[in-house]
Amino acid sequence: MNEEAQFKLQAYLDGELPAGESAGVQEWLARDPEARALLAELQNTNAALAGHEAEVKLPETRDFFWSKIEREIGRQSVAATAPSRKSFWARWGWRGLVPAGGFAAVCLLALHLANPGAASAEFVPELELASDDMGAYTYRNQEDGLTMIWLYDRSSAAQSAQSSTPAILASK
């Protein structure tokens, strides 16, 4: 007997057989002793389990168990209502630091480019970003004296093509 037939027999026992298939299974059972034996085994196992789950009781007193639940509910409700420093920084601190850091980096680069001595052919602008959450790509075209910087949010790097902010600085 293959698995499909075995599972069909089980579904018949559990009343999960699609409508119209029960008659076919009954005919099969009438002519196949192996199927009847398997069905009997499944029925015996079900009958043994029915209503015979072991009776286990919580090994703690009512007061002790309740005190733990009450304490946890209280702890979680305090945590949910109290504003934490972490949540403030998560919501406002880093959100403000990313553009501020980007602005600072652009200003630093602009200072370098404004210095004629620094704008030599060998000059490769180096950016030090104020926030780890921010990344930058630079491109320098020596012939045109053009430097382009792309600033992007590392946390949404997948969207960088759409969300990055190019800062184009021209220098001679």
Binding site: Q10, E41, A47, A48, A54, W66, I69
Partner: protein, 200 residues
């Protein structure tokens, strides 16, 4: 807070309503009424007393937080039971991710020894006393894998249909049928005191 006489005589629905208004005494009464059932379900799935206590406690905390999501489609006890079952399944999944795949695990879907086992023709539990039978069933359940035990508990003790089990265990109906079939066959062998070595 101690429960008073009116809470002891109130229905679950009345207590739930009072608990929704913030009455911790009413919720304490609900916990007292159903705590053994919730613990028993956690224990039947985890087979570990400490884990079962922790998970049933967590189920009660979550049920307090989600009281507004209980709309009475099932009884309150059944609703909390579903919460503890989901917590147990989460815990079992975490545990499974941490362990390496064994031969026993590979056999869970395909049946292993039970696949070739001839049908157990005698009813092995026919003459047993009720208490004796319970002990024997408990010992047999202990020997099943988590996946086999869970599917058997959900089908036989929680009366869930295949599709509900599939949804709860996050697997296909075919997997449920396979696990249930081999779990039953293994139980039949264990209840008949057949050793898996004897079946090879």
């Amino acid at each position: 807070m101690k429960t008073d006489a009116s809470q002891s005589s109130a229905s679950d629905e009345q207590l739930v309503e009072a608990a929704r208004q913030g009455d911790m005494g009413a919720f304490e009464e609900l916990v007292a009424r159903h705590r053994d059932k919730i613990y028993a379900r956690a224990f039947s799935m985890m087979r570990n007393e400490d884990e079962a206590v922790d998970l049933s406690q967590e189920a009660w905390v979550q049920s307090w937080q989600r009281l507004n999501q209980f709309h009475g489609e099932s009884s309150f006890g059944t609703w909390v039971t579903r919460i503890v079952i989901n917590l147990c399944l989460d815990q079992l999944r975490k545990r499974k991710r941490q362990r390496t795949e064994s031969i026993e695990e590979m056999d869970e879907e395909t049946g292993g020894v039970e696949r070739q086992m001839p049908a157990v023709t005698v009813n092995p539990t026919e003459r047993l006393e009720r208490g004796e039978l319970r002990k024997k069933i408990d010992a047999a359940l202990e020997k099943l894998s988590h996946e086999h035990r869970t599917v058997l508990v959900l089908h036989e003790f929680e009366d869930l249909e295949y599709k509900e089990i599939a949804r709860t265990m996050d697997c296909s109906i075919g997997t449920v049928m396979s696990r249930l079939f081999y779990a039953r066959r293994k139980m039949a062998a264990l209840l008949a005191d057949l050793k898996t070595e004897e079946l090879r």
